[in-house]
């Protein structure tokens, strides 16, 4: 996939690492860490190290559309400084609105250069969703709508990474009624591999892992049915949760200030979406492995799942049922239906006794007659 000949002028990652003043030991520590995060076996460490030593860096264009930049923030805070220093700094220098030094015409020029010079070789990272309503005027950069920019940039991309929930499934902008018609990337480009890295934001190490996988092996990581890298999204937060024993035991936090909350019981009943959320939070954690929402006493809100804004309330397990009242839940509606059924049955039973009186009466008479005639 990567045409080495034409990107040879670029320095390799290791050269960049050395130039930045990191030791060989730092470099190997980074390689071991990221290989472990990617879920690869120990023998892959050598492969990854060799790839970073010998392969020239791949140009990256990092576009920002309807987003909050939390994905970038997460990425530059990933646990190893090399991630931020080399991968982001060097990788995305070509073009990224929030971090590049250039601006205005210069920046647009840089983008254009990368697109033409490295056609078919660069990775396109997209952060944010693309608004399609009103011809896309809700998000414009340099006089172009985001859909125009995306289509131009996607054309020459080797692969596309959709960073975060916005780019993967629309996130909050696409929540009902979705006024700007915010659309995730995979619905807008065709013919290119799209790697979805959902989460609001995704874990920095996950982001680094996806990029390093592509750099080291020259192909995109194995994806699941929803287009997410299997290494990070094949398990539910629930499956790696340290509070899982409380769940299995049936011990739950009822309210955030009760005794059970202090004991660290399972947060299922206060709305934890861990059982339906596929992410690596319980394993990798956040902020250099310090903690993650459940560990700090807050239920998982399912931020890496599609439509998590519309699929139910954050602090309840009950599933919201839009269109009835403000938000009725399925069980409330079920109980109403149950009541209505009971009333209908009572009505029908009364109507039967009135309307079919003769039939019932005849049956009774017939039965009584037989009873009279019998000796036993």
């Amino acid at each position: 996939m990567i045409n080495d000949a034409s990107v040879l002028k670029q320095p390799t990652y290791y050269e960049e690492v050395e130039r930045k003043g990191y030791s060989r030991r730092d470099f190997m520590k980074f390689v071991s860490m990221i290989t472990a995060f990617m879920g690869l076996e120990k023998s892959a460490i050598g492969q990854v190290a060799k790839a970073l030593e010998t392969k020239p860096r791949i140009p990256v264009i990092w576009l920002h559309f309807q987003e909050c930049t939390c994905c970038s923030e997460s990425f530059i805070r990933s646990s190893h400084p090399i991630v931020a220093d080399i991968l982001l700094d060097k990788i995305s220098l070509d073009y990224t609105e929030t971090l590049m030094a250039a601006s205005g015409t210069q920046a647009e020029e840089a983008l254009k250069n990368t697109m033409t010079k490295y056609k078919g070789q660069y990775i396109l990272c997209v952060e944010g969703s693309v608004p399609l309503a009103a011809d896309g005027v809700y998000c414009m950069i340099g006089g172009k709508t985001s859909i125009q920019i995306l289509e131009e940039a996607a054309e020459g991309a080797a692969a596309i990474i959709a960073w975060g929930s916005c780019a993967s499934n629309g996130c909050v902008q696409s929540a009902k009624p979705n006024p700007t018609k915010a659309t995730p990337i995979h619905k807008l480009v065709s013919g290119k591999p799209v790697i979805k890295v959902p989460g609001c934001p995704p874990i920095g190490e996950v982001m680094a892992g996806v990029i390093v996988h592509y750099l080291a092996f020259g192909k995109i990581p194995e994806l699941d049915r929803l287009g997410r890298p299997k290494a990070f999204y094949s398990k539910r937060v629930h499956d790696s949760c340290y509070r899982r024993p409380f769940y299995d035991a049936g011990l739950f936090v009822e309210t955030f200030d009760d005794e059970n909350a202090k004991k660290g019981y399972c947060l299922y009943k206060v709305g934890c979406k861990g059982p339906s959320t596929y992410n690596a939070c319980g394993v990798m954690k956040w902020n250099n492995g310090t903690s993650y929402p459940i560990q700090s006493g807050h239920p998982c809100i399912g931020c890496s799942e599609e439509n998590y804004w519309d699929n139910g309330r954050m602090y309840e397990r009950a599933s919201a049922f839009p269109g009835f009242g403000i938000e009725a839940n399925a069980d409330t509606l079920g109980k109403i239906a149950l009541g209505a059924t009971a009333v209908a049955i009572a009505g029908h039973a009364i109507a039967t006794n009135i309307g079919k009186h003769t039939t019932i009466h005849n049956l009774e008479e017939e039965g009584k007659e037989s009873e009279h005639e019998l000796n036993v």
């Binding site: 499934n169 699941d224 049915r225 929803l226 094949s234 398990k235 539910r236 499956d239 024993p245 769940y247 299995d248 035991a249 049936g250 011990l251 739950f252 009822e254 299922y268 009943k269 979406k273 059982p275 339906s276 959320t277 596929y278 399912g302 799942e305 599609e306 439509n307 998590y308 699929n311 139910g312 397990r317 009950a318 599933s319 049922f321 399925a330 069980d331 509606l333 079920g334 239906a337 149950l338 059924t341 009971a342 049955i345 029908h348 039973a349 109507a351 039967t352 309307g355 079919k356 003769t358 039939t359 019932i360 009466h361 005849n362 049956l363 008479e365 017939e366 039965g367 007659e369 037989s370």
Partner: protein, 246 residues
Amino acid sequence: MSKKLHIQKLRRVYVWELPVRMYHWLNVLVLIALVVTGFYMSNPLAILSKKEAVNSYTMGWFRYIHFAAAYLFFFNFLFRLYWGFTGNKYANWKQFIPISRRFLKEMWIVFKIDILMMKGKNGKSEHLSVGHNAMAGFIYFLTFIVFLIQCLTGFGLYAPMASWWFPKLFAWVPAVFGGDILTRVIHHWAMWFFILFAIVHVYLVFYHDYIEGRGEISSMGGGWKFIEDDVFEKNKHTTPNPESAK
């Protein structure tokens, strides 16, 4: 009473074969287990316990029963589909799918007499139904569709934690709905269908027994229904599936 009392002679008809009855009662048990454990799993009771978590497994057991019951439910359902092709004519798949004009016409008659309380032919306030009436058959067809929805969404949600290949066949289902959250919601909504269905179903069984006196309730026990001898004689030769009179 204006009319002269007419004492009926009843003729016994074997309607529900043993496999159908077994399917029915296994389904009852399994559905009760699924609904009860399902409710618990969606909103577990507040348990105050002095025991360490390691010594109790409440949620675990509820889930275990739910999954075990789900397997029984699924294979029971498959068996019933099979029996729709090999069982007697009252168990046949044609009893469930409204494809013929006759089927639709009978549904209309059932609607008029049982729901609108209208009088039928010759001023009669009941209709002849030896097996399912057409309306019931159609409703059962809908339940089969909901069975299918529950199996798909249920095994779909179960697939990621399964180690057997069979539930993994359903892994594509949550992907269709964009994830587990919506799949779970559909699974939960569809459960209410069973509750409402069961109530109406039990009521109607009592209703038919009450106004027809043909042993509707006991038929799911012994398999027999009873029809009046004159009705039997009248319908004997015009029955569309004559091979049943073996």
